[in-house]
Chain length 184, copies 2
């Protein structure tokens, strides 16, 4: 039987949602920030576009508006503590890279660095910035993709070797069940 | 060590991605269609908005452009066969509801029906239709949310009772590992 859901918390029905770490670089203060994002999706194949939804009050929002670029870093489950920290603190008051001891690596096509401990990275320049409702949907054009060497073969991600992090609301996270798989 | 990823297949780095079933109703032919969508995300809290990215060639694309509404149905893992069918056939040539024997239920606020076998439903009217790259990003305003009675308590989804379906590329699907959970 169907009953009324909670429209104010409609986003909970999408849980578990993959949590990614988005890096951006504040040129003015020469500081790289990192924000945990659960509202994100691929958008277009050609050109290759990826969208992230960020609230205007976020520090990363003001950075991306100026820098016009960002990097999406795909997060392994074992980084759950650091990812939770990045999702619950503001880069305005804390240096999240320093606090989490995440390692930055130079990107190839953008000034924003990658997070070494993540397993795949999409280097994006801002393609469109869309105000939609109370968030900004930043659409990035992917200029370069970098991945951990051992996860990638014949142009394909070795899906069995990754264990991505998923957010399930509140302060809770989970991951994928590799024992359950169905192939057609 | 980081190596070049495949920029043409950048979306594979988001795998596993939750697969949802989107229903829409073709008034002209009095036919409800259903499409499997992996590119989707919440967009805004107030107003409550949800975005889905659909290629213009899809039958559902032409329907939503006319009907200006759709329903997002969240899919349990045991519907993997039916969901794969809906993702690999076109409603132009096949009646997917009939072939999959999925059950339609009337929605409350839109004309498009829900899929009974799914566990949560977002009834959406079209808020914005954005051409972004080679896809259309349909942004729906959520008018009503309906969920299975046993999955919902005190305004919260019982996350431990759901086992959503995730797409991992090619013809492969998986689900969440309930034994792995981290709470802060």
């Amino acid at each position: 039987m169907k009953v009324d859901g909670n429209i104010e918390r409609f986003y909970q029905y999408s849980f578990p949602m993959q949590a990614v770490l988005v890096t951006c670089h504040d040129d003015e203060h020469n500081k790289t920030n990192v924000i945990t994002v659960a509202w994100h999706t691929p958008i277009s194949v050609d050109p290759p576009l990826y969208g992230i939804s960020i609230a205007p009050k976020r520090y990363s929002h003001s950075i991306i508006e100026k820098s016009k670029e960002f990097v999406i870093n795909f997060v392994p489950y074992h980084l759950v503590d650091k990812t939770h920290f990045c999702g619950t603190h503001s880069g305005r008051t804390v240096n999240k890279i320093k606090e989490t001891e995440l390692t930055l690596l130079s990107a190839r096509r953008v000034k924003t660095p990658l997070i070494k401990e993540c397993y795949a990275h999409l280097e994006c320049k801002l393609f469109q910035s869309l105000k939609i409702g109370d968030h900004t949907f930043f659409v990035g054009q992917i200029l370069s993709v970098e991945v951990d060497k051992e996860l990638f073969k014949n142009d394909l991600l070795k899906i069995d070797k990754i264990q991505p992090l998923y957010y399930i609301g509140g302060n809770k996270y989970t991951t994928i069940d590799k024992t359950k798989k169905r192939e057609f």
